[in-house]
């Protein structure tokens, strides 16, 4: 079974630039999550999709972050414009149905450095 795919693996940009991350979840998984993990901390949920609808985006800084999940499969997370404090690893995860009781499957993440 193929895992969660993410790209790019690394990205370096200057502040005020824009950046986009891509995620392809495990086939058949209805729920997709984007997490932000700052160095030394645990992952922080940014947004949760159920199929192509948003379930929870309460922690997403909507003035600069946006996300979409086209046709309920792939997802992209965009930051525009980036700030220094956005430097982090962005993790995508998926689960079969969602809800908090299931185990999550994570991709390898995109490490973002904002200079």
């Amino acid at each position: 079974e193929a895992g969660v795919a993410q790209s790019p693996r690394y990205k370096i940009i200057e502040k005020r630039q824009s950046v986009a991350f891509w995620c392809n979840p495990i086939s058949g998984h209805a729920t997709l999550y984007w997490y932000q993990q700052i160095l030394g901390q645990g992952p922080k949920l940014l947004i949760q999709f159920q199929n192509n609808g948003v379930v929870d985006d309460s922690q997403l800084p909507k003035d600069r972050f946006s996300a979409e999940r086209l046709k309920g499969v792939d997802s992209t997370l965009k930051i525009q414009p980036a700030k220094l404090e956005d430097s982090a690893v962005y993790l995508c995860a998926s689960s079969l149905r969602g809800g908090g009781n299931e185990k999550l499957f994570f991709g390898s993440g995109t490490q973002l450095s904002v200079l």
């Binding site: 645990g42 993790l91 809800g99 908090g100 009781n101 299931e102 185990k103 999550l104 994570f106 390898s108």
Partner: protein
């Protein structure tokens, strides 16, 4: 918060020793999940223990759950250098997608 919080924050042991890390949570749960994160990688699910179970084994991993104390422990026996990673717990309950800061385990050869 239903967040799982791990303790200690960091743990350093020699290869061959056992490593124990703990997790506390605040509300009722359906299960308790443990994940491992190697440096520069995503989290990998290790083991899930249901709320009606007290102990579960998987290879060198032993997990216990005490729902009366709202706590869980993860024991890694006969540790190896490859066990060096951060370990996170997550309380499995409806709507909870929160992780703690993790325990950073360092196993020295």
């Amino acid at each position: 918060s239903q967040q799982g919080e791990e303790d200690p924050q960091a743990l350093s042991i020699q290869e061959g020793e056992n490593a124990t890390m703990n997790c506390s949570y605040k509300t009722s749960i359906n299960n308790l999940q443990w994940y491992r994160q190697n440096s520069g990688r995503g989290l990998v699910h290790l083991i899930l223990i249901r709320s009606n179970e007290r102990e579960k084994h998987s290879g060198r991993l032993r997990v216990t759950l005490d729902t009366s104390k709202k706590s869980s422990s993860l024991l890694i026996t006969a540790s190896r250098a490859a066990d060096t990673a951060s370990y996170f717990c997550k309380a499995g309950s409806q709507g909870n997608l929160i992780f703690g800061k993790g325990t950073k385990l360092s196993v020295k050869p």
